[in-house]
Amino acid sequence: MPVPEVPYDELFEAHFWGMVRLAQLLGADDPEDVAQDAFVRLHRRRRLLRDPNAALAYLRSSVCNASRSRLRHLRMARRRHAQLADAPTVSGTPETAAVDHEDVAELLRAVDALPHRQREVLVLRYWLELTERETADALGIAVGTVKAHASRAIAALGKQLKDSP
């Protein structure tokens, strides 16, 4: 049965802030900008809007690619300009009380330290709760590679948290 077409504005309204949160979790320095650009690219490919599932998959993929690119650029810029401050993490607000819990913060720090591909797999599998197939499609890699990255990431996190005081 064909899926009814969803107007672009409705897609934006429904999914923009979710994409911003995804970009934030993937480490983008300007998650709103990443999400905005992803939607602009989607707008150009309006035929995808006929299938909202395809549109959503496209947005996720776009956000993942852009966040990875931003992270790479940020790391290169930091190497060149050692005085640049680290991107601040939001704190001191009611919503961040949970993040300020030390065990949660410790786990997030460990995730931040993972290679970006492993981090992406964890975010898509455990936060968005995508299947291995959906994660593979979003990242443009094989299902076996998703499994391998997930396994290595969990092992690395386990070691990091076990070793920390």
Partner: protein, 411 residues
């Protein structure tokens, strides 16, 4: 055994919850879609024209004609197209172009009514003024080497107007860890007891206001809006009740402009009313407001600090409300009747309004660092849109022109 997989969802949810929805992303998206469409069509038109030329004039190119020069169009990165030139508002002498240094180009960030101004060169903050321009051949006086506050790490930071300069004082905001920032204010010549102190605990999402001897800033997380009577060491950074520091209850007062000694603020419970306070009449440490005057705004202020911004001098109070610029002559006897200039370019981002004796400049910076300005001459009624920062104060105008900065007196 640590159940990491079980904890990841909770940890990611906690971090995702730190994303705070901002105002009207749909409007920003419509603007971006429109811009992308326009660029694509322009690119296609150029490609088509180039294809025609390539087909019809191959011999001319090989015959040694000079290559066509495609100038870098900085306006393509701006929020508005150029329409007019700020120099059109200025008189003799000709605009002075600030020399760039080996460290990079200067980005102006604040202008004083006496023509002195602050500018960033890389990570350094510099102070310049007519005196240094005249006598030192434009060599700027280095003010601080510390990292200047403005950063495009986040939209929150861009909402901060973190710089101020008056004939005697300079102020700048420095981001700290997380959402905190510190404020440093100095006076010149230095007070006999020493130079400025810093104040921690500034809300970096709110502007700071500096005029005359008064400095206004807001504390983060629901703290008070503080007003310092003087920027010198004697009272700067003083706590509640000491040395002339006083404050407003932040729950109600949103400062929007300062024209010493009048502070303009909105009441967050009533955004249709503009309040004015004589800061000299405020008893220190009490939080008491002595409202001089209340004026009704033609429309409720919304998105204050972004698309609703204000500025004032002793003679003028002005505000931008989305696509209109509203100007009030504060010295007029008749009831407060704003003059409305509409439409002004709709620019999505964080706005700043600076008011001079005869010129008003409205500059918007978006999340990607793109800038656009609308300039209005109150005497001639002439309007200019400019793809760069513009500041007006006293009878001076300061603006970015491509990779340089220029300053001149308004005629």
């Amino acid at each position: 055994m640590i159940d990491i997989e079980g904890r990841l969802k909770e940890a990611f949810d906690a971090r995702a919850a730190t994303v705070r929805p901002g105002p009207n992303p749909a409007a920003e998206n419509r603007y971006r879609v429109h811009r992308a469409t326009r660029r694509r069509r322009a690119a296609m038109a150029c490609a088509a024209a180039a294809a025609v030329i390539a087909v019809t004039v191959p011999m001319a190119v090989s015959g040694g004609l000079p290559d066509s020069h495609v100038a870098t169009n900085r306006a393509a990165d701006a929020l508005v197209k150029k329409s007019g030139d700020p120099a059109d508002f200025t008189g003799a002498p000709a605009p002075f172009e600030i020399p760039t240094s080996a460290s990079g180009r200067l980005t102006p960030v604040a202008l004083s009514p006496d023509g002195s101004f602050l500018g960033r060169i890389g990570q350094q903050l510099w102070a310049l003024g007519p005196r240094s321009i005249a006598k030192e051949a434009g060599v700027p006086q280095k003010l601080f080497s510390a990292v200047a506050a403005t950063s495009r790490i986040s939209a929150t930071t861009l909402a901060t107007t973190g710089f101020g300069i008056t004939p005697r004082a300079r102020v700048f905001l420095q981001r700290g860890l997380g959402a905190s920032a510190s404020l440093t204010c100095s006076v010149t010549p230095p007070a006999t007891t020493g130079m400025a102190g810093g104040v921690d605990g500034i809300d970096p999402t709110r502007p700071v206001w500096l005029d005359g001897d008064h400095l206004v800033y807001a504390e983060p997380n629901g703290g008070a809006t503080r007003l310092l009577i003087s920027c010198d060491r004697a009272s700067f950074g003083q706590q509640t009740g000491e040395g002339g520091a006083t404050w407003f209850d932040k729950a109600h007062a949103i400062p929007v402009a300062l024209a010493d000694p009048t502070l303009f603020y909105l009441d967050s419970t009533n955004l249709t009313t503009l309040n004015q306070v004589d800061v000299n009449a405020l008893p220190p440490g009490s939080g008491t407001r002595h409202v001089l005057d209340r004026r009704f705004l033609p429309a409720k202020a919304s998105d204050v600090g972004r698309t609703w911004v204000a500025g004032a001098t002793k003679r003028t109070f002005a505000w931008v409300d989305g696509d209109s610029l509203n100007i009030v002559d504060r010295t007029a006897r008749e009831p407060w009747t704003p003059k409305t200039i509409r439409p002004i370019p709709k620019m999505s981002g964080t706005g700043q309004l600076t008011v001079g004796d005869h010129v008003i400049a409205y500059t918007v910076t978006n999340a990607r660092g793109r800038v656009g300005s609308f300039i209005y001459n109150m005497r001639s009624g002439k309007r200019i849109t400019w793809p760069g920062r513009v500041y007006a104060a006293g009878d001076w105008l300061l603006w970015q022109d491509g990779g340089t900065a220029k300053i001149a007196k308004v005629r």
